[in-house]
Symmetry: C3
Subunit: 150 residues, 3 copies
Amino acid sequence: MEPRLFVASFPCYGRKMPLQRISVVSGRDVAYRLAVAEGVHRALVETLGVPQDDRFQIVTEHAAGSLFCTPSYMGIAHGRAPVFIQITLSRGRTVAQKKAFYAKVADLLLETARVPRADVVVNLVEVEKEDWSFGDGLAQYALEPTEKPA
Amino acid sequence: MEPRLFVASFPCYGRKMPLQRISVVSGRDVAYRLAVAEGVHRALVETLGVPQDDRFQIVTEHAAGSLFCTPSYMGIAHGRAPVFIQITLSRGRTVAQKKAFYAKVADLLLETARVPRADVVVNLVEVEKEDWSFGDGLAQYALEPTEKPA
Amino acid sequence: MEPRLFVASFPCYGRKMPLQRISVVSGRDVAYRLAVAEGVHRALVETLGVPQDDRFQIVTEHAAGSLFCTPSYMGIAHGRAPVFIQITLSRGRTVAQKKAFYAKVADLLLETARVPRADVVVNLVEVEKEDWSFGDGLAQYALEPTEKPA
């Protein structure tokens, strides 16, 4: 059975890549942004099986008046420094995995960047494995055997 | 029938959340950006059933040469100050609802921010209800009964 | 057969529109950003059938420490000036077309902007034809005959 398991799991390995967009308020120091970025990535690694070195993140700062967050929605009160996280990733995570990610990222951002748990706002966007190229002009997750690099 | 309708509509209430990305040219004043942001949100509220307090918006400014908009495409002539709007929202709106949103947002941005109707460029991206967490580490739109906050 | 082919391809013409988000490092000159933007658009035109005048691009600059790119992932070594490209486009391209796009955009960015092929990172997000309005408040790709402009 070992070989079959290997065959079955190998394609999954190649479908992890997320593109992470993280929006924070401006005026914080670099350490804050680094902590937020690190926390989001660590949550992906720990809950969604993203490899440690599969890290592609775009962090943007926004002045007051450019990051609108409702003061309160469905019972959750938001502060003045929300973190909006939008992650595009390959389809296939279960609802339970997504929930584990939301919980973990809220925990980690509180721990490492002092972001209140209420202010961690997350959205996932799922795409297909052929929707990625992370360099060299190849669709790394949808290669035919003949396209594999030597 | 009342209870059934209630049961049927309640889950929908919890699937409204959009994440709104709005890109405008730089050099305008704060009032312009506020008017654009308010207009986009109001159009969502009025045509797609988004609750008034379900407001999460990222507004970015872009210098000339960073916001490329074709001078003309399929008969629509564009000016030098387009507004690009990309909204991620839960799946399930009808084509008619989407069309009503496009019409309303063009009307409102003209009225409140003097954006020519030709220059309101919109894209929607649909996701699932479990793809959202708007705080506290929970997937608010995909909670099991046992996960509900007390 | 000619007429049938024409009939079959005509509706596709109206579903091409992409929204292009391009993230580059800050500190480069305008010519660099123009070359990158032009290269991405040209690759879309040449491989995915996007009309030349269907150009809607948002280019953003990011300081060091805001654009995180893994030093190496799955054997591809990345430098300090990656280009992240996220393109939202209508569903329907084949895997082969997507692969042709990845190869072409890597070639063109190397040629016109000296971006190493390893540093061209691409993600596609597919949406439906009714998810677009490129002006005037209309869903141009999902119009009923009665909605067509005169």
